[in-house]
Symmetry: C2
Subunit: 223 residues, 2 copies
């Protein structure tokens, strides 16, 4: 796993940019179709309609291809979450959570096969800014959403609650997309249940709008 020396050379002319795009598209096609093991640089170059040499002008090694694909994919989902958060700003907790879950799910359903390989088979490429850290902007925004609805939610450690929310949604969406469960369970059901799951967690120990109950102590003791 060595993807330092990022882009070996930046494409300056438009045809070079097209070459890079073609390479990335080909890599994505092969990856989502036949998996990582079947993805050789020669094959990528061939499918892209360029030569291996061209490939290595823009990507220092094979792993850099995966990294680039990862970044592109991360950006897409990040943007969908961003849109969802912006669209529901000021709305109710339920509205915001619903939008988040749906955005996440739809983002992952854009290209489930590619997502599957990228996130399930090769999650360890380019550790620095991938996924968890990539959501930093989103993370902060979700935290402030929870802060705004503080009186309605049970967990008072907002960092923990934010982490749980993001992790749970991501994990459940991931699971639903990666290995769809047995027949009778639909994606729509899981989507709805995920929303209830998160809302159930956030609402735990909050009797509608009354006083805070002393059920709090059974929650995560601070270090």
């Amino acid at each position: 796993m060595k993807q330092i020396e990022r882009p070996r050379k930046l494409p300056r002319q438009q045809r070079a940019q097209a070459t890079v795009e073609a390479i990335l598209d080909a890599a994505a096609r092969i990856l989502s179709g036949d998996g990582y093991a079947a993805m050789s640089t020669n094959r990528v170059a061939e499918l892209a309609g360029v030569s291996v040499g061209s490939l290595y002008q823009y990507f220092p090694n094979k792993d850099a291809l995966i990294t680039a694909l990862h970044e592109r994919h991360g950006r897409e989902i990040h943007e969908m979450l961003d849109v969802a958060l912006t669209a529901t700003a000021g709305g109710s907790l339920r509205e915001i959570i619903t939008a988040l879950v749906q955005a996440s799910l739809h983002g992952h359903l854009l290209d489930p096969q590619l997502h599957r390989v990228l996130e399930a088979e090769l999650p360890f490429f380019d550790p620095p800014k991938s996924e968890s850290d990539d959501h930093l902007g989103v993370h902060a925004r979700i935290r402030s959403v929870l802060e705004a609805h503080r009186e309605q939610i049970g967990p008072q450690d907002l960092d923990l609650a934010t982490y749980m929310l993001i992790t749970t949604v991501q994990a459940l969406v991931h699971a639903a997309v990666i290995d769809p469960p047995a027949a009778p369970l639909s994606t729509a059901q899981i989507e709805a249940a995920t929303i209830e799951m998160v809302l159930g967690y956030l609402g735990a120990g909050v009797p509608s709008t009354s006083v805070r109950t002393p059920t709090r102590d059974r929650h995560h003791a601070r270090l």
Copy 2:
């Protein structure tokens, strides 16, 4: 990915059994230490103190090694869940869920590195009976637990609820073990929060022990 022709030959003598164990241990060490890419059959044999030939007498190919490791790992966790379920049989929902989460977490913490590679980097080996299906016994038992506590829980589609419970616990434990979150969040906190998450979901829409409220309709509509 070809791991048909399961064990090429079964170890009949005790020294052969020891050889197989040594090979599996070596494979686990290399896998958890340096990852799949660094695991060559020659290196495994060397670390195990046997020759490559011996390795290929019991494992038809490299992938069979991974599969065997997967199965071993799956059995371990499965047994811990089994113990937890048996020990808390007849207890309250909270007790059972707590035991399940703890068992799952502790099972994954036995060898986080190995688990990381096995479940995060190579989850696609031996699809037939791994993980999801492997939990079938546990799945049924958890479903019956939910059935026994039916009056206390909100979700009435027990298949869905069981799926959500298992998936959520697994995913959150997984996340906590695989990429431990930022500094201020401890494993213990996540463990507790996971319990609350699941209980929050199960308890959603259930006002302690009174009549069923008509809040039900916002739940996942049946197909």
